[in-house]
């Protein structure tokens, strides 16, 4: 599980089929004080998180294979929670 802040969005026409229709966010990992803590990464976001909102991300590929209904999906990162208070 990673704490992160949504800092951007990405679109891709050519992508693994399991990314079709998925929203892709670019996020920056943060620490418990909300400070940046590492290299930015991308995730799929079924929750529609807003810019600069804080989110909770899983890196569990098998969970994401379930939610995108594709056992061949290599996608790992997915937004699974929007943080109210940290």
């Amino acid at each position: 599980m990673i704490l992160a802040r949504i800092d951007g969005y990405a679109t891709a026409t050519i992508a693994h089929p399991s990314l079709k229709g998925q929203k892709i966010v670019l996020c920056t990992p943060i620490d418990e004080d909300g400070r940046d803590a590492g290299m930015p990464f991308a995730a799929v976001d079924p929750m529609g998180a807003g810019r600069h909102s804080r989110v909770f991300i899983t890196t569990d590929g098998s969970w994401t294979q379930d939610t995108v209904h594709d056992k061949t999906s290599p996608i790992r990162n997915q937004v699974i929670g929007l943080i109210d208070a940290l």
């Binding site: 800092d7 679109t11 050519i14 920056t28 930015p40 590929g61 290599p74 996608i75």
Partner: protein, 100 residues
Amino acid sequence: MKPGRVIGTVTLSQGAPQFRGARWLVVSPMGKAELTGKNSGLSQASTPVVYDNMGAGIGDEILYVEGAEATQPFENPIPLDAISVAILDNYTYAPPVGDA
């Protein structure tokens, strides 16, 4: 998934049989400075070699996945650490101003 810029390709004269027909990209991971456009060159991060079946070329910005999930698209076991999953058309990246 991590964002990266394709900076080269690799070809093998010999390889594991599972790699027949494989295409390999040398990728420079994109950090904050690269995503915000402050640095249009290479990042400081070490450069992974990534399996590619999308046809990404040098200069393209891609997303790639590292780890066991990289082998998920393949029916048979394959000794793979990283795979490209998207060629980016567009992206925005703007951390809040004044944040550490």
